[in-house]
Amino acid sequence: MLELRGVTKTYGERPVLRGIDLELHEHRAVALIGASGSGKSTLMRCVDLLEEIDDGDILLDGEPMTVPGRNPVPFRRRLGFVFQAYNLFPHMNVMQNVVLGAVKGGGMKSADAHERGMELLGRFGLADRSRDYPDRLSGGQQQRVAIVRALVTQPRALLLDEVTSALDPELVGEVLGVIRELKHEGMTMLIATHEMSFARDVADEVCYLQDGRIVERGKPDQMFTAPRSADTQRFLSRLLDRG
């Protein structure tokens, strides 16, 4: 459904992505792991066309998205993006945050968007917060609202960019729980994460990124128990050492 071919991206002189090939099939989840600065977030932003790529192609349902001059908006509407820092709109309450994209971007009727928003908020334990402003919510609640906001438009796939990295440890579980549930329902997901046990649980495939390249990819069990590449081994053992 989502396909990356030789995606290359440079910031000034510094190459950030050096020829990424990746395929994400319907109802599957691919986890991107790797150290900070390995290119995970840039890759996610490129897929949502928030950054322009320098070379290569990104296709959504076989349609090339990264043709120069092509309007990115319709493609972005078919993808949902959840940011590390939630990025809720502070001047809007929870419900306004949730329906904005669906109503203004997706052309959904306001009443329908509200209904769907309420249903999703209810499912993730946020029904009573719909009139609150984001600064009144905990980090975990804000991130769950951000996930609902991305889901209301019924995207083809969800892009989750380190969605638990900004959270206090005790709040990580509630957000990961939501994502596990979505996976269970068959949501297609591309997940950049530092949570290895979560990646192992949820992902159908894990890719290890280093210096803008996918060094190794494989099934989670194989990747975490018997990584083939020395780089992956070093990365994982450093993580294990840290506890």
Binding site: V73, R76, N87, F89, G106, D135, L137
Partner: protein
Amino acid sequence: MLGGLAAFVLTSPGWPSVRRTFLSSSNFGHSIGHVAAGFWLDVRMFLVVEVVVLAAGLVIALIRVLDLPALFPLKILAVVFVDVMRGVPTILVVYLIGFGLPALQLTGVPTSAVVLGGLALSLCYSAYVSEVFRAGIESVHPSQGSAALALGLTRGQALRHVIVPQAVRRVVPPLLNDFISLQKDVALVSIIGPQEAFRVAQIFSDANFNYTPLIAAALLYLCVTIPLTRFVDHLQIRSLRERGGLLALGPH
């Protein structure tokens, strides 16, 4: 200290004549009605110019912050406009527009001094206010724009629903400050003719060799500017308290 200063002024050799020329109650009573009628023109001009300035200032700010190649010529124009209008004293702009535009003798160009004066003030203050708006827009974190685009909004929708509302909230106090100065600068229009408060007061002063009407005009200005200033202070304190309050409360 205030008492000392008062005593110093009141015992000065010139005080009796100053009191006669600046603080004559008969002159005050005689002129206040006319000066107040003139002040009503100031208030009306202020209100109209303020609306024009808010709209034009926002448009200029948007032209300057938007990164669209098609807008590039407009962007250069906006930069030149802001530089020139902020760099020339307002009184000069009033003079040049007030006498220069009608001198062109073009059909359709207004000749009313009130309209021309209002136009001059609008030009000057649009430049200032556009910079206030621009600072506000640039203070909104880029991640807000990314989030709006990721939701499938167009650039225009992102600006309208996400960026500009946040920017405007942040710049309300500095905007009101500019409007307090605009309220006073309306008096500059008097140099091209309209009989607003300062001009009326001047006419009375010249006729009677007594400056009390100017004091009357000053009092009228204070009646508007002091409440406005207090209102700005109140807004600033409230926004500080909101931020501080949230910091103290933390997420719960």
